[in-house]
């Protein structure tokens, strides 16, 4: 299975990313229609090359390859245990791959970790704190640890406190902070040395809606300032709005990468049709298998009067389905169609398997 070259119509004018799903006999069933092979051009700020990470028999990450261009936000989606955190940790120089490499600005996270660290800010999912330290001291310590001195450190500290909205908490002990404020502080720590690349592992986890909106605003603002951001999240609607591209990972394998639109377009079933049928609801699933457009129908779900199914045909074919049902004696009261969201695509691509 190889990545196919997109047609000139499909290819965006400036490809936000490039990706390859490697050939593997037992590889994923889904081949995304995206731009071809990974390269190490200067615009690829983050690059994962055939990354593997095994823990004994468990293949936490298996042959993952993708790259992210400078200034873009890349969403990393997958169920729990899919391998997101592992690959992010390798990129952040906290773990080593069994095989393959991860590059930041062209520098290897394996061979030149110290050069990668200068360019990289990492916000882990679990936020460790120090006892008896307030927010300002915490940030000041990390600023010193990154080699910032004197006025430069003070200015950077004030900017981070302002940007993350933690000025009011500057002299409060960290252990007394709310989850949202801790997340802000953690983002501030990742930003303190002004890295060009940010890796954010589940930054919105446990945040209230207002804090999530605020976080989304901050991430977009950072991307506008030229930061390259790799973000993982379970809240797919947020990634949909925030990311230039996404990668879907399950059981350590990259199932799809591309912009949300590209991935949606690459799927056969673009629409979800919903019909409200007033009679013979228990027969409708069977009837749908008999209509001439049956090949374009899948995943039929009957929920009382509502019948939902994936549909890959055009408007005329939709009309044909409705007409066939009406002719078969079904009373169709309502028809609606909607495009699949990132959440739907995610559910369709992944199987919910964990290792």
């Amino acid at each position: 299975m190889t990545t196919s070259e997109p047609s000139s119509e499909e290819q965006p004018a400036v490809a936000p990313f490039s990706a390859t799903v490697p050939t593997e006999p037992n590889g994923p069933a889904f081949a995304p229609t995206v731009t071809p092979a990974v390269h190490s051009g200067v615009d690829d700020c983050i690059e994962l090359r055939r990354l593997h990470r095994f823990f004994g028999e468990t293949r936490a990450v298996s042959d993952i390859t993708f790259s992210v261009q400078r200034g873009h936000v890349f969403g990393y989606i997958g169920p729990n245990g899919a391998g997101k955190t592992t690959s992010m940790r390798i990129l952040a120089t906290l773990d080593l791959p069994t095989y393959g490499d991860a590059l930041v600005d062209g520098f290897s996270a394996v061979n030149d970790p110290e050069l990668v660290r200068r360019r990289l800010g990492f916000m882990p999912d679990a936020f460790g704190t120090y006892r008896d330290v307030n927010c300002r001291e915490y940030l000041d310590f990390f600023a010193r640890a990154y080699g910032l001195t004197g006025a430069q450190r003070r200015q950077r500290l004030n900017w981070v406190l302002g940007f993350t909205g933690t000025e009011g908490m500057a002299f409060k002990p960290i252990r007394g902070l709310s989850k949202g404020m801790k997340q802000r502080l953690c983002l501030g720590r990742a930003l303190i040395h002004d890295p060009s690349v940010l890796i954010l592992d589940e930054p919105a986890a446990g945040l209230d809606p207002r804090a999530r909106i605020e976080l989304r605003r901050m991430i977009r603002e950072l991307a506008d300032r030229g930061k390259t951001i790799l973000i993982s999240s379970h809240i797919l609607t947020e990634l949909d709005e925030m990311c230039d591209a996404v990668g879907i990972i399950e059981q350590g394998q990259l199932l799809a990468t591309g912009s949300v639109e590209d991935i949606q377009a690459s799927k056969q079933n673009q629409l979800e049709l919903c019909l409200r049928i007033l009679n013979r609801n228990d027969e409708v699933a069977e009837a749908l298998q008999q209509v001439p457009q049956a090949a374009k129908i899948d995943q039929v779900v009957v929920d009382g009067q509502l019948v939902r199914f994936g549909f890959s045909g055009d408007a005329k074919a939709q009309a044909g389905v409705v007409s066939s049902l009406v002719h078969a004696g079904f009373e169709v009261a309502e028809v609606s169609a909607r495009k699949k969201s990132l959440e739907d695509v995610f559910l369709q691509i992944t199987e919910g398997l964990v290792q």
Partner: protein
């Protein structure tokens, strides 16, 4: 490394807004000093001074010092005005000071590093520009500063005790120096222990081992200090000078080895974690050998001989442990390590054995153990010929260091070669830690002793055994015990030494493959970045 602010442009370098006036200059100087010192030290001190543990310890120290000053003085009334009363007061103050310096501070340093690992903050530290060495040294510096604070607090009490007469100034200084060096060394040991722990059970075991060690050290030093205070200093001027210098040299080199090992535990696998440890080990061994030679010469007589014997036993233990750990190393030579490989013919010939890997580790271990064995034999001959070892311990010295001094290194070399083979098999499907090398050595040594012993015992109908060279040649315990009793025939010695030489040659040939990887060039962009 001064980080350049790249894109946001919020931060720009500039001079301090403070200008003019000596206070401003002092403030500016203080800030620059603060920028220059280790960030871990700054953070740890901020934390420590606010921590409940420090407040409680400091308060208790003050209270105990005050209480002893009052209680001790009152208990010696009215003699305190007429006769020397310093020893009793000094012992009390020592007890007050030793508890925080030898127990509380090392334990706090251990908890601090262990806490960083547990809470995940160490990971955040490792992705900064701080090196593992800076992290470890920062923790050590913070602990030393706390010790200094405790000491300074108790200084007036020590001065008060000195004015009571009975303990001279050199003895007081010697006690303080011993306390400071011991406290620092124990903190280093604690920092070495902290990253060793894995899992809950491992952490509890490590913690208990450390507490036991600290309590033993506290007890040992207390015995020494009390005898020093009550009975005075038994050493002559040159002997005292030698003891102080030798202790400092050994403490420094041993501390360096432990710190290097602790830093190596925090260093990623891809980097060279081994060469530093091997060099540090060489430094410690050299210092120890020189110290032992000088000890025999300066502490002439039984004391010198006992020091020599203890030194030989400690060196043997050190090299047994270290060589087993080296043999357990990961054989992978990463591109990162290959960039630092020796490149010229001479440097490859001389320095390849310092590069990481089990094969080089085995050869390095064999060379050093064999060299030490030869030096030991020459040393023994020198001691006996020159008459330094005359006295009641001379026989003991000859018994322990002559034949067993040859047999032990020979057995060790044989077992290490077997362990190397076992580790190569284990590594085919696993990635064990280096400690597994030590565990394998213990297993091999036990099997080599127990299997022939059990078999001969069985064939002998479980009767009392006589040493049989044919059965027990691999039984190091039986052979060494027989050698210590001067009952060993020459056959087993020849066999064991011959086996050691043969296995060494096999190890050397097997290690030949590890000399093949050549140095690779560091990418230009990486060099530019490093220089920039």
């Amino acid at each position: 490394m001064a980080t350049t602010i790249q894109s946001t442009g919020e931060a720009t370098t500039g001079t301090s807004p403070l200008s003019g006036g000596w206070l401003d200059r002092l403030d500016d100087w203080c800030e620059r000093f603060g920028d220059a010192i280790n960030p871990i030290l700054v953070k740890e001190m901020r934390q420590a001074l606010k921590s409940r543990q420090f407040v409680v310890t400091f308060s208790l120290l003050l209270f105990a010092a005050l209480a002893w000053t009052v209680a001790g003085s009152l208990s010696m009334m009215p003699r305190i005005y007429t006769s020397p009363s310093a020893p009793r007061m000094m012992i009390g103050y020592y007890a007050v000071l030793a508890l925080p310096m030898l127990l509380v501070v090392p334990l706090a340093a251990y908890r601090s590093l262990e806490g960083e690992i547990d809470d995940g903050t160490l990971e955040m530290l490792t992705i900064t520009t701080l090196s593992p060495w800076q992290i470890i040294l920062g923790k050590l510096a913070s602990a030393s500063l706390q010790m200094l604070l405790y000491f300074v607090t108790l200084c007036p009490c020590l001065a008060f005790a000195y004015t009571l007469r009975g303990v001279d100034l050199p003895t007081t200084l010697l006690i303080v120096a011993a306390l400071a060096v011991s406290g620092t060394l124990l903190t280093v040991v604690a920092l070495f222990f902290a990253p060793l722990a894995r899992g809950r059970g491992g952490r509890i075991m490590t913690m208990l081992s450390l507490i036991l060690l600290l309590v033993l050290a506290e007890y040992g030093l207390a015995m020494m200090v009390v005898s020093l205070i009550w009975y005075g200093n038994p050493l002559s001027g040159p002997e005292l000078l030698f003891t102080v210098l030798a202790s400092l040299a050994i403490a420094f080199t041993f501390g360096h080895l432990l710190l290097t090992a602790a830093a190596a535990q925090l260093t990623p696998e891809t980097e060279n974690r081994s060469t530093g440890i091997r060099l540090s080990l060489l430094m410690l061994t050299t210092v120890a050998v020189v110290t032992l030679a000088l000890a025999v010469r300066i502490l002439n007589g039984p004391t010198g001989t006992v020091v020599y014997l203890c030194g030989v036993v400690l060196l043997a233990t050190l090299w047994t442990v270290c060589a087993a750990l080296m043999v357990g190393e990961n054989p992978t030579i990463t591109p990162r390590i290959r960039r630092e490989l020796p490149s010229s013919f001479l440097s490859r010939l001389m320095l390849t054995w310092l590069t990481p890997g089990p094969s080089t580790g085995l050869v390095f271990g064999i060379i050093c153990i064999a060299t030490l064995a030869v030096i030991q034999q020459f040393g023994l001959a020198w001691i006996i010929q020159s008459g330094f070892g005359n006295g009641p311990t001379r026989g003991l010295l000859r018994n322990i260091c002559s034949v067993p001094g040859i047999l032990f290194p020979a057995y060790l070399i044989c077992f290490l070669t077997v362990v190397r083979l076992i580790m190569a098999v284990v590594r085919l499907r696993n990635n064990p830690r280096v400690e597994v090398g030590l565990a394998a050595l213990i297993v091999v040594a036990l099997m080599a002793a127990l299997v022939p012993y059990s078999m001969q015992l069985h064939y002998n109908d479980y009767q009392t055994l006589e040493y049989d060279p044919n059965w027990q040649v691999s039984n190091w315990a039986f052979t060494l015990t027989t050698a210590l009793q001067n009952d060993l025939p020459p056959g087993p010695v020849k066999n064991v030494v011959g086996a050691a030489i043969g296995l060494s040659l096999i190890g050397l040939f097997a290690a030949w493959r590890t000399t093949r990887p050549r140095r690779i060039a560091t990418p230009t962009r990486v060099l530019e970045e490093q220089l920039g």
